[in-house]
Amino acid sequence: MNKADRSRHYNDRVRKAIAKPRLQDTLHRFADAYVIAREAAFAGQDFEALRTAIGEMKDEVRDNLPRYRDEFIANAEAAGAKVYIARTAAEANAYICNLARDRGVKTVVKSKSMASEETHLNHALKDAGVEALETDLGEWIIQLAGERPSHMVMPAIHMLKEEVAELFSKVTGKEEPAEILHLVRLARKQLRQGYLDADMGISGANVAIAETGGLALVTNEGNARLTTTLPKIHVALVGMEKLVPTLADANRIINVLPKNATGQLITSYITWIRGAVPCGDKSKELHIVLLDNGRSALAESPHCRDALRCIKCGACANVCPVYQTVGGHVFGHIYISAIGVILTAFFHGLNNASELVRACIGCRSCVAVCPSNIDLESIILHLREVIGEEEGVGAGKSIVFKNVMRNRKLFHGMLRAASVLQKPVTRGERTIRHLPLFFSGLTEWRTLPAIADKPLRDLWNDIPQKVEKPRYRVAFFAGCLNDFVYPEMGIDLVKVLNHLDVEVTLPLEQSCCGVPALYSGDKDTAVAMAEQNIDAMLENDPDFVVTSCPTCTMALQRDFIDLLKDNPVWAEKAMKLAEITIDISCFITDKLDGAEAFGKAIKAEKVTYHDSCHLKRGAGVWEQPRRLIADSGREVVEMAHSDRCCGFGGSYSFTSHADIAKQILGDKIKDIEASGAACVAMDCPGCMMQIQGGLQKQEKDVRVKHTIELLAENLDD
């Protein structure tokens, strides 16, 4: 399929998914229940320590794969198993089909195996004349529906009980009521005979243990125990990344997997199988197919190889706002959600991954819950760069990034021009409520702020600064939104910092932080922007560089280092800038000890706080702004899902995925309203733009403020 067709098909699927409110409702309800259950399951355990240990153990196996693989094979074969290494999906399928043909197998029962979904094993078996019966309830449902899983752990989470009843009715030939217990019991009855009749059982495995040559299966339904017990042949199809060195390592994964997957302390069954166990009056014939299919290539990619740590818990989907909006059939190929984006690129080809790579909004909620310590977002960003190089970043974006953004004077000149040109649309107001003609889609669901008459840089010299003996001299990195859209916020920042005896400069050679280019896959432009900004901000050797936008903060603290790490001249400067860069709330509380320096607000307003993705999960800051709001005499009331993305995501909400962004914003507005707060505070001008736009469009009477603006209000009072 060519690129244009592929994009059209994909956008079509997005639209169809959004048109299914019951799907979103199911996924949202599950997500809420999951967060609570997961927290309870990990109570008293140090999740950071657990996941660090799992990550390190998995890296050890990856780095010494031949040794652990050979140890596993030797032990498994000594116990009577036959081990086959399949380099590709086709090889794995051929081995299993040939075996079935050789042994005269007519029917196969399968317990859940994502690896078999990955290789499309059922199709291959069918072509070989073998009937495969899925026995996991969810897998059976989607097999009957002719679909693929929409979640790694809960394959049929997208289906409603009415739809399941309809499918089951076709099997039994009579109308089955859409009652869940009835449907579950019906599946038990229908599938029972399958185990007894089948000549072969096919399973996956959650862990393959080198020191024993055994496998462990983590299940709830009991079908895997039947599948591995009754038929005389057992084939286990196992991804190579499931290898662990010891039983203790396997135990470590099994401790974390159910807790992180569904919030269960443990699943109903953990099954440890080693070798050709008894079967009837003979021994079982056990074949273990170790699947590579792109895993070796993944291990060779320094940027992406951490993805091999994945233990397939599916948590990255559970917490993903994009997944919750469109489901796994849109945000996934075979593997779904964040890890799915990466595995798809390596297992099923870049072409199948390129739309998915752009669908990530970059909120890092997956990174926070990953039990193997994988920085999923960074890997996805890297893949976006790769696809940017392969396919281009889009003609419009390309011109803007390469020809405009890299030239600060031109870029800022165009922003100034826009401020004049927008006049007919803004009618002199600070927000754009409607855009004409083909731009109208952008303001259908949120208003947009107008570009200010005068950017902060033009106002700067007229801002009075009265600091007699400055404690610090700081340089302000304003970012585009603070400079050109919300200049008054910069004035407030000066007021607040002066109050704490800090002098502020605004280096005029600073420009866009480059994130829009980087996140769109244009690495060259991002590098150029990084160099330009490093020079601008380090000039005059400030004590600190303060930021008011968490995405800029992450660029200065993290991305610049990564972009320039191979250049010895720039790497050191990037490190220096990262060391002195700090977001404004954190600077006030942690460096200036200034939380209580602003007195009490005249009106003890109820304020709810929205955690910006890059501030909470990027910079690790969430307590500090709440303390500032509370100590300045306001009542902090928590909204539900305070750290869920608002749906802004920069160009995500403008060009690439406006329809998904709109849904995510809708969820946020509901949560803000339900909190009963009169004001919603945050520390990100991008979130402000999104949330204010949504609230205004829906005519909600809630103030939207940056934390710094609230502190400045106290000084004005």
């Binding site: 809960m154 869940i180 079908n223 039983l247 302390l265 069954y269």
Partner: protein
């Protein structure tokens, strides 16, 4: 033992303190109609359970599990040990009879000597190692509560492919051997 009981009940197991074999036989007899697959476990044999159950009128099946498994009402097995943190019973199940008795019937009765309860799964790891050293082929099962699914609309439903009822019967004096097989 208290932690074990709380954790096991939390996941839907029936846990019963039993003081003697007569009480045990009565407990089982009251709860089944149909065949009982009696697993070939040494401590159950020693206790003479088979004869007692038959005397009470229970249809005890002791061989040909493959033929009787699908129609039997329940399975009765021992447990090697329990894990308190999760309410888990651990069964060395390499003998196929143990597996059939714990997978096919609707109900699973499992006898556990309360002196064989470990605190956490970490403590079970060395025992897993010992089993693997003793047996060239091994099938070991951790069983925690009845068979469950939430595959339709995330609604927790009990009893899909495995036993819908798990009765853990705590009876002291059965066996102190965690490696029993």
């Amino acid at each position: 033992m208290e932690n074990f009981i709380i954790a096991a009940r939390n996941v839907g197991a029936d846990v019963q303190l039993i003081s003697n074999l007569e009480e045990l036989v009565a407990y089982i007899d009251q709860r089944i109609e149909g065949g009982l697959l009696l697993s070939p476990c040494p401590s159950l044999k020693r206790a003479g359970l088979s004869a007692m159950l038959k005397t009470a009128g229970v249809d005890v099946v002791e061989e040909e599990f493959r033929a009787h498994g699908a129609s039997a009402a329940a399975g009765l097995t021992g447990a090697n040990f329990g894990i308190a943190a999760t309410g888990t019973v651990v069964l060395e199940s390499t003998d196929e009879a143990v597996r059939i008795a714990t997978t096919l019937p609707e109900k699973h009765f499992v006898l556990l000597d309360p002196r064989k309860i470990l605190a956490t799964a970490d403590e079970a790891v060395p025992l897993l190692g010992d089993f693997h050293k003793q047996m060239p082929q091994a099938y070991l099962a951790y069983i925690t509560g009845p068979s469950r699914t939430a595959d339709i609309e995330r609604v927790l439903t009990i009893g899909v492919h495995g036993p819908a009822e798990l009765h853990i019967l705590l009876l002291e004096g059965l066996s102190e051997d965690l490696m029993e097989r």
